[in-house]
Symmetry: D2
């Protein structure tokens, strides 16, 4: 019974992401917590905090145990955390009370759950890094291939000056390089949590050493202090997800606009059909990118608010994270996978782009014309003249260049405005492609 379309059989393919979702499944969460307990027991055994035989037994058991999530439901509903029920179920499954009593020794629910989350995030972030890499590579190919393909740049939806499709793609790609760099920082910042009931390791004299050992064995950072109530690592992750999905949403938005009937400069293959209109080629995937960005931004706001976390643990603030992070992560994963898929299906239409450059009487050349004229009239008067001529061109339906030739016959307008007029666009496209390859 899905609260979220990513959990729906119908909508999973549209709005979900199996690979990311797998790491947020009940069984994955239980498995990660068992792994944490195994690493804890090992470290505690090695350091003499708990008996060596108990440590070995617990560690071994964590690899074999199979715990039914459903069996944890009732106690979780009462306790707010699944850990007490899971400790009990796991101890029972171990069938060796003398040894299993050392499970979860000196630690608290939040240590186990936050470390288990960090473990899963490490894998999620590796997956995302791969996807970002593949997406950037796709965009680099696209930018390179179309570095010189001229099209109209648009500001406020209005034709501005010429650019190239490659430059537009480079503009999509640059923020992703930034996001990938940041992802790598966030990933290496993922930390073990081990600070006991209230952040002081009061039930484990060797706590700091155990924490260091656990961090080493689990491949996480040792924070060297408690982060129970410092949620800034989670906030930073949420902000990253919001930023990256927004950058992908921008790609989606641009594609929706480019694919509009009457513009049709870029198509995305495999567009969606309508239930009643036989002709429809809806830009479904780009629309999903925009929607996911909106979802993740909203979630990020809630996660940020939950960093106003009361005292040494704040149940309500922590629950907010549980209610939002998985869906945000799945949306992020989906967005990355879909953007890459879209990038590979993008089809620019050179002739439509050419039409885009010449429509509205070729007014897109107005700025360039004003700089040509500035040499003889000065910038201010040149700008005013071109403005007047632009209006006249629209009113008469004549090309701006015709009117320029009429009023300023001494200038060879076809030479003056005959180049690509797209400035650094092609260079920018190729520079991004090069950067993406080396970055």
């Amino acid at each position: 019974m899905p609260a979220h379309p990513a959990d729906s059989a119908i909508y999973r393919g549209l709005l979900g992401d199996e690979e990311t979702a797998r790491l947020f499944s009940d069984s994955s969460e239980i498995r990660a917590m068992l792994l944490v307990w195994g690493a804890l027991a090992k470290a505690q055994g090695d350091l003499g905090v708990i008996p060596a035989d108990a440590a070995a037994f617990i560690e071994r058991s964590t690899r074999e145990a199979v715990i039914d999530p459903l069996g944890l439901a009732d106690a979780t509903a009462v306790n707010g955390v699944p850990v007490p029920a899971l400790v009990a179920a796991f101890r029972k499954a171990m069938e060796a009370p003398d040894l299993s009593q050392y499970l979860h020794w000196g630690t608290t629910s939040q240590d186990i759950m936050d470390t288990a989350l960090a473990l899963r995030l490490r894998r999620v972030m590796a997956l995302w890094d791969d996807r970002l890499g593949a997406l950037i590579a796709s965009l680099a190919r696209l930018a390179d291939a179309h570095a010189d393909l001229p099209m109209a740049a648009r500001t406020y939806g209005q034709a501005a000056t010429p650019t190239t499709f490659g430059a537009v793609v480079a503009g999509w790609g640059h923020p992703l390089l930034r996001h990938r760099q940041r992802l790598s920082e966030l990933r290496s910042g993922l930390a073990v949590s081990l600070s006991g009931a209230a952040g002081t390791l009061s039930a484990m004299a060797e706590g700091p050493k155990v924490r260091a050992a656990m961090a080493a064995s689990l491949g996480l950072r040792d924070p060297e202090h408690s982060w129970h109530s410092d949620r800034s690592p989670i906030v930073d992750l949420a902000a990253w997800m919001a930023a990256v999905t927004a950058s992908l949403g921008k790609i989606g938005q641009d594609l929706i606009l480019s694919a509009q009937t009457g513009i049709s400069e870029v198509a995305v293959e495999g567009a969606g059909a309508s239930s009643t209109m036989p002709q429809k080629q809806n830009p479904v995937a780009p629309s999903v990118l925009v929607a996911l960005a909106r979802l993740v931004a909203a979630g990020s706001g809630a996660v940020t608010g939950a960093a106003v976390h009361a005292q040494q643990r704040d149940g309500s603030a922590w629950f907010v994270e549980w209610l939002t992070l998985p869906s945000m992560a799945i949306a992020t994963g989906r967005s990355l996978a879909l953007a890459r898929d879209v990038a590979d299906r993008v089809r620019p239409d050179a002739s439509a782009m050419q039409r885009g450059l010449s429509q509205d009487c070729g007014l897109i050349m107005a700025e360039a014309a004003s700089f040509v004229l500035a040499r003889q009239l000065g910038r201010v008067e040149a700008q005013a003249s071109v403005k007047t001529l632009s209006k006249e061109a629209l009113a008469l339906g004549l090309p701006l260049t015709d009117l320029l030739a009429r009023d300023f016959p001494q200038t060879d307008w076809s030479a003056a405005l005959g180049g690509s007029m797209s400035g650094t666009a092609a260079d920018d496209a190729r520079a991004f492609a090069a950067l993406a390859r080396t970055g």
Copy 2:
């Protein structure tokens, strides 16, 4: 693989709501769409838009058809909507192409999906209305029972003046009366959607009559125009969910504060245990109420943003609704059920409340004392005097009344401050209880 804890076996009991969730399940959504097609066919048959035998056959089939949600996944991922796949699967299941071709005649995906949503919301809202009614009744009993139970009112967390627990409960209940009234308005506003491919019913000359007939048979309102791109009914619903969960979150927040160690004025039976601290009685349920409020507020922001809905249908804006409404609705349902459950488990502790009134040297009587003194000193000087005495009382650790008696011996302070001093609190509590019973 849950994107949302309400879809998790582990967390469902804590953060989910089976009854609300049932109406957002895949099968429930398919069932609702079939029901809409049945009503559409019936209306179209009655009005001669489609052949009577096709209408009867389709309507009958909608009641019997069983469609596998999984079979819709691939096409939904491409088309963005499940309707084309569902039309095809249902037509196939009907095994009578001559008749089944009249399925979905002259309508569009959004008509079917929005009407199916309205149908399910009608049931969800009936469920919520029942829960609100039960919750209000619980609060009314509580307010009545404890109308005279004195406790300290607190502003900024500081003891302010005396009130009664019944008055506090009445304060929780009043906004719920308002929300229930609004829920009833929203419920009666739920409308059928039938306006065809782009809002003009262009493929159905008798469209307005069909819409009216469908509205009547489905028990929904006939909007008499298209609401494809007017999402204000959804925005209003989202805002309602945010408002009601915030009001319930306030109850949760107050209970967390009242249950704090060192205050302990109100306990909620059945508190949560810790995995390591044997003494803990965590206010889990109140904390969930706060968390759900934060979730729904974030979702409401996203839904509101999606009302900036482009042109005649905006895929991305619509997807935002799908990504947020179900989890918001389930959170709302959970919040209502949990709040009622909490209301029935609230246990005020009269002696702790009495301690709360006398602590800090009984400074809670300072305002009252200042009004007594105002009769002889004037208000301004009285306030200043009591302020000075309040500081002295704290410094010396003596009751404020002792210092008042010392400096103003002519006043009989035990008489002057001996009443309940809680003003209209008891009356307010009983007035709410009475209003709740009649409202």
Copy 3:
């Protein structure tokens, strides 16, 4: 030093609204608080709560007092509320301590400030109601004038089926009728606040009668209980502002899309110029409508969160309202004024709309053609045939109707598809106009 562009000399004309802002000015706030004290003193005098001469003197003084806002700054920074400083300043200005001591008798800061807010909101809402009325009237004229003007409806940015410009305008207008109705409800719900230090009127035995009298004299509702910690009226107002600005943002979004180079179906006169591109006609005003909607939605989320208001007064939650409501209100006011201004400057271009209908090989007729064909082929096969022909048309660059005529010569296609094909569009436009006039 503007924290908000509405307070900036440069940006005020773009993003501010003088008339709404006036009611949130320092002097307006002080004036409103004085007015509340006047009404309070009058009611208390009439009911014998304070001496009649003091009541008369205070009431008279409230009309004459001029208080310097700057003088309140330091104390407000310490106390969190301006009331203590304002009480002191006003008492001092009255120069009659025996009488002025009765100022603010038995009440608390929040009573005065919330009532003063309600007073100002009443005027703001009247202003908005006028603007909504004028806007709806403009849209009604527009819908009526262009009820029959054909244009392409668009879904996902793609041409869907024909509609008329009047129908599009009607689609903009319908939610405004809804919002105006709700505004009227919210306005009549504006209530006086009078419940004393902690909601119990403990310092005023005749409190409920005073509250009723104040409500009557100030033209506000008597809530009959405290709403200090029930912020749902504020939440509902914030939600309304978010809903109405979203509906206006939708108008802006549609206009931005319609004005795009290459589409140019609707222009808004008085578009913005660029600093460097002489030809630019930027849809500045429509863009502002979209931006204001985003701002208000964000603010509404914060206000809703602040309804999780702790105990009998929650300073931080209340401050959140102060930090957001004025800018939201000014944005709402600006949005309403600007939308009306835009509505009066909208210029549809019939020939561009005609081009929009015929482009892409006239595929916009595909659904209609499929229904024509359905008579001979059945719906399913007809839809499939038209889909195939649509693709062929695009590939060959031929009108769809040519291919239909080629393959299905027995149908008179120019007759079959020669009408407006826009269904109820014209009727919908006129129905809205009629409704707007009577509503």
Copy 4:
């Protein structure tokens, strides 16, 4: 007429920040734009893009010009940007058309405005860095001074285990070290914007060199490509502001809770007075910290959404930044200054903390007791025994240690539970202080 309380004479001291606000004033914005034009002209003159005399004249003029913000209002309202009006006003002021025509040569509004923003942000961020440094130093002193001061750690508001006040303060400080590190990264990432009308520098062949020279002279980074439509730097800044104010809001929240009547473990000197209650010492400053966090989180969501920025410039998305960034920045500045101020006024009350440790029958020792008992009973049975004794202690009102002594007389409980029992708390406090000094 303030849209935001930071612009109000009354509220500025409470919710504003003069030093940050100064950089967002109209005159500061104009000054920064002039500075950008000066640097642009200089670079263009040096590279031969414009005549050297024009360059020198323009640069000199930018230092002397005084432009009235009000004079830009009308044109800004039409154009959406102040640049066209400012160019005209500045050219007019220069009174040398031949030279002033080279002002703003080959660039666009967004280049000038975004670079001017970066310039001001650099100063704002330097200010914030100083404040963060001072705040961290204050917290370090506090943590050091109270490293051993025992108090109850609280989870869910319930006493958990002992900690020390120094450790709590260290918990406040750690995220600030992280935020300061990130601030330094963001600051060094501030970039010049120079890419012309639509991101291609089409009107300036030497554009990239000019950009590099400008970056060098203004002390900003050269991005080497356009960031007109890549808003991730702004999004990252907004996220940082939200994260840091949330961390400061957590300090505020903890202080509100610690200062509650009945707990009173920490006071903040200079608390706020009530208008009617003489005894009140409201934690106004901590409440402001919480409120500012909520405001900035909401703003961050809006800014993140605005990164879904259409095409080469999206007016509405850009306006959203203008509507939110200044108030967010001022709130961040205020929060930093206020937190530091609060840190210096925090007064822990050792005896109240001692009471907090002993109340509720000393149940805070339950976890520790369970580990003592675990040696003889095993962990599971020990936990269960202490749970049972905890309930009995509460029911009888007896200290838990008395019951432990009764049932387990062989253990010397006063020795076993007689230490600080606060684990690493003191070490953590000192480690933070050391880190803060070196960091």
